[in-house]
Every structure is written in structure tokens, then in C-alpha cells.
């Protein structure tokens, strides 16, 4: 039987093995003159040879929407983010701007989150940092993970790092989290019994039904998806991928998803931040 299989393979029936698909395209991402790195040669100990942004796997039409901020449908949310940034709120009755000044001062933050926080004794995502500041400094209640407010603010803050290389800490106290995320990445889950690696590592570049599989990188979040008709967080994407294979997703903001986010960021290190990106 093995032999039969081998013969079939040799005869070219296995036309679509891991390397045969269309793969990423050759297009280059530039937004209003800012070049964004979508391709990085992977270090030697990396499971992939070249790290590609998910943008490289999308159609020309989808790609082009992200190349012009006037066309990027996520910019409506970014406008809302600016409004929130300037609006006094909470018991302090201060706006983010009152304490932080120009939002441009947040440049660089998205590229290094999740980041280790001594006081919390844990890594904090951008969502965690925003909510902590609202609660501790502004005197408010904080925003729900997937609320319009949180998505608008993380898109606005994320955008300040556009083009900067993803550079999340992986050593020191973060090392355990990277390991934990890696375990999750390679664990088969759900009734369909697949790991993230089965699709995004072994089969990126291939079509799975109508979807062109990317490497599942995180540099574009929050992302505007046509399917969502709006912005969505990275943890929402994780959740969707797990449900598709009929697995019970972890909660948004859970340690598990934070660990996955950290591991994926270290896997995709060097890619340019694209927040807010556009995907189908």
C-alpha cells in the first residue's frame, strides 16, 4: 500500500504537496511613501525559510485597499480613536491627550507588545495596557476586548508604529511564555484534529477551499476583515481559526491567547507593523 502511494506520488498525482501552491506573491507594500517590510529571511533555527506578512497572500484588490489610507476601510475606526483620545472621561475628567500629549508619542509601542510588566508579574498586551491606564490613571472602567472603543484605540496606537519591525522580547521572564505559546501552536485541537502549524506552517501558500493560507503572522492587527465588516482583534482571529476546526476557543485576553500572541510575534520578528491591515 505504501508502495502504491509512492508510485502514485512519483507519477505526479500528488501535484499539490506542501510546496506546489501559488505561495506568496512578489508585490511590495508601500503606504503613502512608507515602505513596509513584508518579507524577512528567517533565522537558522526558524521552522520557515522566509517569513512573509499575510498581506503577500491576499489578492491585488485586497492589497491595494491597504496601500492607500483614503481607501483603507479601517480608517473610520482610526478617526473614532482620535476622537476618544481627545475626549475627557472617567473620574479624572482628563483625556488621554491631557496626560500623554500627541498620540504619536505611542510610536514603537505596538512593535514591542505584549511586553513584560514587572508590577503585574506578567506580559501585557496593548489592550491590557490601555485598560490599565484607563482604570488606574483616567479613573474609568476600561473597555471590553472587542468593543468599538478598544478596536479604535488599538488601531490608532498601533498605527503609530507602522513600518517598525516587530520586536517582542523573547528572553528573560518572557521565555516561558514563548514556550507556552509554542506548545499551543503545535497542539492538535478540535474535532478536525489540527494544530495551527498544520495550516500555517506546513501548508501556507496553498489554497484550503477558497482561502489562500498565509503563515498566520500577527503584524497587521487589529485587522479590517470584509468577513467581519469591521475591525477585529488578533484574539478574535485566533478564536475563529479554532472554531473552524471545531475547537473550543480560549477566551480573549486569556493567558493562552496572550502566550500564542507572544510566540507568533517572535516567529514573525522583523516584519513591519501594518496595523490596521486589510484582509478578506
Amino acid at each position: 500500500m505504501r508502495q502504491l502511494f509512492a508510485i502514485a506520488a512519483a507519477a505526479g498525482f500528488i501535484a499539490a504537496s506542501a510546496q506546489a501552491g501559488p505561495g506568496p506573491d512578489e508585490d511590495q507594500l508601500e503606504i503613502d511613501g512608507l515602505k513596509i517590510v513584508t518579507e524577512v529571511k528567517a533565522p537558522d533555527d526558524h521552522p520557515l525559510d522566509v517569513i512573509y506578512s499575510g498581506w503577500r497572500f491576499r489578492t491585488d484588490e485586497t492589497q491595494s485597499l491597504q496601500m492607500d489610507d483614503f481607501e483603507n476601510p479601517a480608517m473610520v475606526a482610526v478617526e473614532y480613536g482620535i476622537e476618544l483620545w481627545d475626549t475627557p472621561a472617567g473620574t479624572s475628567n482628563k483625556s488621554c491627550a491631557d496626560c500623554h500629549g500627541d498620540v504619536e508619542d505611542m510610536a514603537g509601542l505596538k512593535a514591542i507588545t505584549p511586553k513584560w510588566d514587572e508590577a503585574a508579574g506578567a506580559p501585557l498586551t496593548l489592550e491590557d495596557l490601555v485598560n490599565r491606564s484607563i482604570k488606574e490613571h483616567q479613573g474609568g472602567e476600561g473597555w471590553k476586548w472587542e468593543s468599538a472603543e478598544m478596536l479604535a484605540m488599538t488601531a490608532l496606537i498601533g498605527m503609530q508604529s507602522r513600518g517598525m519591525p516587530v520586536n517582542v522580547q523573547s528572553d528573560g521572564p518572557m521565555a516561558d511564555w514563548v514556550e507556552k505559546g509554542k506548545d499551543l501552536y503545535y497542539t492538535r485541537v478540535g474535532q478536525l484534529d489540527m494544530s495551527c502549524a498544520n495550516c500555517h506552517e506546513d501548508n501556507n501558500g496553498q489554497y484550503i477551499r477558497a482561502d489562500h493560507l498565509s503563515q498566520g503572522n500577527t503584524n497587521g492587527f487589529p485587522t479590517y476583515r470584509f468577513k467581519w465588516q469591521g475591525l477585529g482583534s488578533l484574539h478574535r482571529r485566533f478564536s475563529g481559526c479554532m472554531k473552524n476546526i471545531r475547537a473550543q476557543p480560549f477566551k480573549r485576553g486569556s493567558d493562552e491567547f496572550t502566550a500564542l500572541e507572544i510566540y507568533l510575534a517572535t516567529r514573525g520578528a522583523g516584519l513591519g507593523v501594518e496595523s490596521p491591515s486589510v484582509r478578506n
Partner: protein, 152 residues
């Protein structure tokens, strides 16, 4: 004919609740030999026409997610993660095909292909699928009957 439809409906219903049914081999008592399963899970031959539908249906086999298949060209979006299905019956016997559909891992170690008639799959299954097989015994037999029609 009406009697057959009736029987089919019963087997499907039983399959969905995951209970054993006299004449149907339960997921836990399937016997493999070198990855192959000699006997029909239901004791009777499947229906190739139904199997063709199960193969394409996104909520059932969804085999097209990963396999191209010329016979179903009219259906949009054939994936390319696995091999082409054309001529698959020339490459594998009925027993081998049944084994691959029931539990692909017995033939292809570590494969991405789901095991369609097994109750213990990946961790954290969504509650509504917990302890359940993806396809019923009858659907497996229908798919196998359909695969047997794919000759070069």
C-alpha cells in the same frame, strides 16, 4: 424503496447520537489491518450518489477543502492541501479507502487530514461535537462508494 429510506434515516439518527447500533460498527470497535478496514461499517454497501454530496458538503465531508476532484469541477473552490482525487480508486483498494476516511492517521502518520469516524480527536472539541464522529457510519460508506467510482 420507502423501507430503505426509513432504515437510512434511523442509522443517520443513531450515528449522530453516537450510540452503537446492531449491524453498525461503533467508532471504538473498528478493526484496522495495516490501516485498512475490510468490512463495511454498516454491513451494507454505501450509496455513491449520496457520497458525492457528502464529499462536497462543507458541513459534512468538506473533502473539497483539501482535494481537487475533476468530477466535481462544477463546485467552486477546490483546495490543494492534499492529493488530487482523480483515479483514487486505481491507487487504493476499497478497504484501504475506508481506512483512510475512518482514520487517516493509521495510513498517513501525522497527516492534517481529519479522521472522519473517530470520537477521540484533538483537545478542546466544541461542546456540540464532543464525543461525536464527523461523519456517520453510513456517510463513510457512501463516501467510500463514491471514491470507488473515481477511476482513470
Amino acid at each position: 424503496m420507502p423501507r430503505k429510506i426509513c432504515a437510512a434515516a434511523i442509522v443517520t439518527a443513531i450515528g449522530l447520537t453516537g450510540e452503537a447500533w446492531a449491524g453498525t460498527i461503533s467508532p471504538d470497535s473498528v478493526e484496522f489491518e495495516d490501516g485498512a478496514i475490510a468490512a463495511s461499517l454498516t454491513g451494507v454497501a454505501g450509496n455513491a450518489e449520496t457520497g458525492r454530496k457528502v464529499f462536497a458538503n462543507r458541513k459534512q465531508g468538506n473533502c473539497l477543502a483539501c482535494h481537487q476532484n475533476e468530477d466535481l469541477r462544477a463546485e467552486p473552490f477546490h483546495g490543494e492541501v492534499g492529493p488530487m482525487m482523480d483515479g483514487v480508486a486505481d491507487r487504493w483498494t476499497e478497504a484501504e479507502l475506508r481506512g483512510i476516511v475512518v482514520n487517516s492517521k493509521m495510513t498517513f502518520d501525522g497527516t492534517i487530514m481529519p479522521s472522519f469516524y473517530r470520537t477521540t480527536n484533538g483537545a478542546r472539541p466544541l461542546e456540540k461535537f464532543e464525543g461525536k464522529t464527523i461523519l456517520t457510519a453510513e456517510q463513510v460508506e457512501d463516501v467510500v462508494a463514491y471514491l470507488l467510482t473515481l477511476k482513470d
